[in-house]
Symmetry: C2
DNA sequence: CAGTTATATAACCTACCTGGCATGTTGTCC
DNA sequence: GGACAACATGCCAGGTAGGTTATATAACTG
């Protein structure tokens, strides 16, 4: 489910990390520069994202390259699906009207 | 932006409220029964959702009827859009491959 | 092996979040 | 106007989250 995913993505800093990683995968040091934040803070956020499955890491030399994983975003997309009828076309609204007024 | 929206929706209880309101709008007492939680707790969550624009309320007699608002969900949908290329078709993957290997 | 680089973890502190109970507020009915 | 019904709000306790500094770990480098 999108449970932990939303918790992970609710944090502004973590969203900035995702925005950065969306452009291209990169190591922690790059993120530290991009976010202008301390390295431990970035590592902690990456841990949360990693445990939520939002990012994955692979070792390259002494670096750890982080990359976005599609899964959680797909789950979020799926979770959002039933809510899309809130703004879908008038045909849906008519249908719901008929449902509630038999 | 989807900033406050994600914070509001990150809470499991608030997601349950949204799931309930997605079926139909209702007053606080119904939510209290549905969620099996104290009325003040529900009211507080509703406050968060209301201030995030996720729900709106209108007074009916001494009740307050809460309803889902489409806006934040639309914003979330829009925020998610650039991330959809993570799992889109192989054409995109080829494109990204060519971008990174000129 | 010693030193450096790159990152993770530990310990700690502050602040906020969420739940409970008690109480305030607003509208309705007699 | 008094009593009641439906919510909102204030206050307090417990837990957790996010930041810092200091330290541990792992992999190159000479």
């Amino acid at each position: 489910m999108a449970l932990d995913t939303l918790t992970a993505l609710a944090e502004p800093t973590r969203r900035r990390i995702c925005d950065t990683l969306r452009v291209r995968e990169c190591g922690v040091a790059e993120l530290v520069v991009a976010l202008r934040m301390s390295q431990p803070a970035v590592s902690k956020h990456l841990r949360v994202l990693r445990e939520a499955g939002v990012v994955s890491s692979r070792p390259v030399a002494q670096q750890r390259i982080y990359r976005l994983e599609p899964g959680p975003f797909q789950e979020l997309d799926a979770w959002l699906r039933p809510y899309r009828e809130l703004w879908s076309d008038s045909l849906d609204k008519l249908e719901r009207h008929l449902d509630s007024n038999p």
